[in-house]
Symmetry: C2
Subunit: 424 residues, 2 copies
C-alpha cells in the first residue's frame, strides 16, 4: 500500500490517467510514417547500447534483492542480464525496426455495382497492455513490437525486475523521443501495487488488448479476471504421431529434437503417439531413455522397454516442460486423431509419415493452431515462421492464432470511396 | 423455475451437455465438403417453404401471447411473420447456401530457407452461441451463416418467439439431417430459463464465441458478463461532415438519405457536422426540417434556422434511432476530426468533399470500423458491401471489424509441411 499512498490516487484513476495519455500518444504515432517509426526504434536500440553500464548496474540491484529473497535458480536466470544478453536485447529492437510496417497494408479491395470502391486497410489496435514477470527483455521486445505496428503500450513488469525495467525503459524512451515519438507511447506502469494489474484488466474502452507474458498462473489469472480482450496461450501440450509409414531414421531424429532440443519451450513435444505398425518403436523409445528422458507409457509402450514407467491418467494432459514424455501406442490414424482431439491444447501437433494421403488427413482434421508433417514441433516459433519476432503464440481461436507478430497487433478498417451515392 | 425443474438439470449442466453435443456435431460438419454443406442448406430453405403454414400458426400463438402481455408495437412488428417475411427467410437461407465456402481458403503461404512449407488456411471457429430477442428470422439467418462456415450453433432466442423459433428450427433441421448434417449442429436451447444465458456466457472452452443480436441492453449485459469472446456492436453514433469543398447538391442528397432513409438502423447518421465555410448549410438544414426531422444544434447551427432546437451536452453522444439529429458547425477539418474522435462510436463516419487531399486525411485519421467519402452512411451493411449476408456489424477492434459475414465466422490454422527438418 506504500506505493498507492505515495502516488495519492486509486489504481483505477492511475490506469485511466496513463491510458488516456497513451491513447493521445497513439494518435500522434498513428500519423507517423513508416520511416519515422523505424528511425525512432533504431535510435531506441542505440540508446540501449549506450546505457548498457547503467542497465547492468540496475539489474545487479534486482538480482541482489532476488537472491536475498531466495528466488529460484530458474527465476534468477530469467532476471539476470549480462553484456551478451544486453546485445541481444538491443539487436532485437533493431531487427523489429527493420521489419515491414503492417499499418496501411491493403487486405482486399472491391468495387460495387453502384460504383462504391471499398478497401480494407490495416490499422493499429490502439493501446496494448503487457503484463509480464521477471524477464527484463520483455520490456524492450514488447515495446518495440507494439510501436512498430503503431500501437501505444503500457508495460507492467514483475517487481523482481523493477530497476532493470526502469533503466531499459528510460534508454528506449530517450531514443524514441529524439525522433518524435511521444514518451507516453511507451509507458512503464509507475507502481508495483498489484491492484493496478486488476485495474488494467478491467479497463475496457481504455486498453484495447492485454497480452500476458509469463507462467501459467499469470496467464490463467489474466484470462479469469480480464474484461479487456486477451491474447494468450495457456498450455503447449504438443503431440507427435509416428505413423506406420514413417521413415524410421526421420522419426528418430524428429522425436529426439521435438522433446530434447529445449524441454522448457511451449513447442516441445509432451506426448508421443506410436502407431502399433510403426516398425522402429523400440529404437525411438530407446533413444530417449538413453538420452536421459523419463518416459511414462501405457501398457503397450511399457512393453517396448522395461525402463518406461507407468503413466497415470493425468499424464495425458500434462505439460512437463522437462525431460519427461508420455508415450502411448495407438491403433492407426483414427486412434491418434481421437487422442489428440481429447488431449491436445491446440498449440502444435505433428505427424511423421511417408503417406501423403495420411498427411493430408492429419493436416485437415487436427484442430490446432499449428499442424505439422515431418518436422519437429520445436519449429513453432515466430522467428522460425519468418515473422521476424513474436509477441507470443496464441492458442485462443479469435483474432490471431499460433505465432503472433506485427500483423496480430493490427486490426483493419473499411474505407468506402463514393461519388455521391445514396442508398435506395 | 418450472422449466429448470422439468429438465432436472442445472443451467450449467444443460449448457455443458448441449455444447458437447454441438462440438461433436461440428467435427462431423468440418469434414463435409462445400457441396454437401450447400446442398443441406438448400434443403433447409426448402423445408422452411414447406412448413410455412405450421410456422405461421406457431407465430400466431406467439403474437397472441405478446398482445395479451401488452408488448410494444415495435416489438410486435419484429415478432410477427407473414407469407412475405417467410419467403424472405427461406430465400436468405438459400442465398447463404450459394455463397462461397470460406473454409479451406489459403490466406498466405511461405517457404522457409530450411525447406519448410507454411500455409495459413481458414477453418471454422467451432461452436457459436447466438443470443437474440424477438425476431424469429434470426433463428434461420444465424444458423445458416454458422453452418455455411462449418460452425455448430446454439440458438437462444427470446421467450416471446418461442413457438415461432421451434417451428423454424424443426423445419431447418429436417432439411439439414436429410443431407448428413447432424441435428446437434444447430440446436435451439431447450428452455427459456434465463439462468441458461448466464451459463452460456461463462462456458469458456465449451462455446468459442457469443454473438448477441438485439437491443443495447442485451448487448451490454452480454459484454459485461461474458467470459467467452463476444462479437458485438453497441452504438452506431455515425457522423457526416460537410466540408467547405462539398458539392451542395451531393451534400443535400447524402444528408437526407443518411438520416431519413431508415432512422432505426445502426448506420443512420446521428450527428451532422457542417463546416463554417460550407456554402449551403441553410438549405441542408431546411431540407431536414421540412421533411419532419427534429434538429438539435449548437449556437451556430441554431442561427441557420429558427426551428433548430438547442442541443444539450448529451446530444453529442446519443444514438437516436429516430427522426432526430444533432447538428454542429465546425471550423475546418481538424475541428471535425476532433469532434468525431471524441463522440464517434467507431461504427461509421463520413465526409462529403470535393477535395481529394481532405478526403484522404479523413480516411486516414478517422478511427472507425467504416470511413466513407461522398456516400451515405446507410451503406454500412454486409449486403451492400457484397458480403452476401451478415451476422452483425462489429465495433470492437479485434478479430473482425465492421460488417461480419462468413469470413468473420472463421479462424485459421498454420499448416507446416516438412521433409524431416529438426531445429538446430
Amino acid at each position: 500500500m506504500t506505493a498507492r499512498t505515495k502516488i495519492e490516487e486509486s489504481p483505477e484513476a492511475l490506469v485511466e490517467r496513463i491510458a488516456l495519455a497513451g491513447r493521445a500518444a497513439q494518435r500522434v504515432l498513428a500519423l507517423m510514417s513508416d520511416a519515422q517509426k523505424a528511425e525512432a526504434l533504431r535510435a531506441a536500440a542505440e540508446a540501449l547500447r549506450q546505457d548498457e553500464p547503467a542497465i547492468l548496474a540496475a539489474n545487479a540491484r534486482d538480482v541482489a534483492t532476488a537472491e536475498a529473497n531466495g528466488l529460484s535458480a530458474a527465476m534468477l536466470d530469467r532476471l539476470r542480464l549480462d553484456p551478451a544478453r544486453m546485445a541481444g536485447i538491443a539487436d532485437a529492437v533493431a531487427q523489429v525496426a527493420a521489419l515491414p510496417d503492417p499499418v496501411g497494408q491493403v487486405i482486399d479491395t472491391a468495387e460495387r455495382p453502384n460504383g462504391l470502391r471499398l478497401s480494407r486497410v490495416r490499422v493499429p489496435i490502439g493501446l496494448i497492455g503487457i503484463i509480464y514477470e521477471s524477464r527484463p527483455n520483455v520490456t524492450a521486445d514488447a515495446a518495440a513490437l507494439c510501436l512498430r505496428s503503431g500501437n501505444a503500450v503500457l508495460l507492467r513488469g514483475g517487481s523482481e525486475a523493477v530497476h532493470s525495467n526502469r533503466a531499459i525503459h528510460a534508454a528506449m524512451v530517450r531514443g524514441l523521443v529524439a525522433h518524435g515519438v511521444p514518451a507516453e507511447a511507451a509507458q512503464l506502469v509507475p507502481t508495483q501495487d498489484r491492484a493496478v494489474v486488476g485495474a488494467m484488466l478491467t479497463a475496457a474502452g481504455l486498453i484495447d488488448m492485454i497480452v500476458p507474458r509469463g507462467g501459467k498462473s499469470l496467464v490463467a489469472r489474466v484470462q479469469a479476471d480480464a474484461r479487456v480482450p486477451v491474447l494468450a496461450h495457456l498450455d503447449g501440450i504438443c503431440h507427435t504421431y509416428l505413423h506406420s509409414a514413417a521413415d524410421p531414421a526421420m522419426a528418430r531424429a524428429i522425436v529426439r529434437n521435438a522433446k530434447l532440443r529445449r524441454t522448457g519451450v511451449c513447442g516441445a513435444m509432451e506426448t508421443l503417439l506410436i502407431d502399433t505398425n510403426f516398425p522402429a518403436a523400440t529404437a525411438v523409445v530407446g533413444d530417449l531413455l538413453d538420452a536421459g528422458c523419463e518416459l511414462r507409457g501405457d501398457a503397450r509402450a511399457r512393453a517396448l522397454d522395461p525402463r518406461v514407467l507407468p503413466a497415470s491418467a493425468n499424464d495425458w494432459d500434462c505439460e512437463y516442460l522437462d525431460a519427461i514424455l508420455s508415450v502411448a501406442v495407438v491403433d492407426g490414424l483414427d486412434a491418434a486423431l481421437d487422442h489428440i482431439a481429447r488431449h491436445s491444447s491446440h498449440h502444435t501437433d505433428a505427424i511423421v509419415t511417408g503417406d501423403a494421403e495420411v498427411a493430408d488427413r492429419f493436416l485437415n482434421e487436427v484442430d490446432s493452431a499449428i499442424v505439422m508433417v515431418n518436422a519437429s514441433s520445436q519449429f513453432a516459433d515466430g522467428g522460425e515462421f519468418g515473422l521476424g519476432a513474436e509477441i507470443g503464440i496464441a492458442t485462443g481461436r479469435l483474432h490471431a492464432r499460433g505465432p503472433v507478430a506485427l500483423e496480430g497487433l493490427t486490426t483493419y478498417k473499411w474505407l468506402v470511396r463514393g461519388t455521391g451515392q445514396v442508398r435506395p
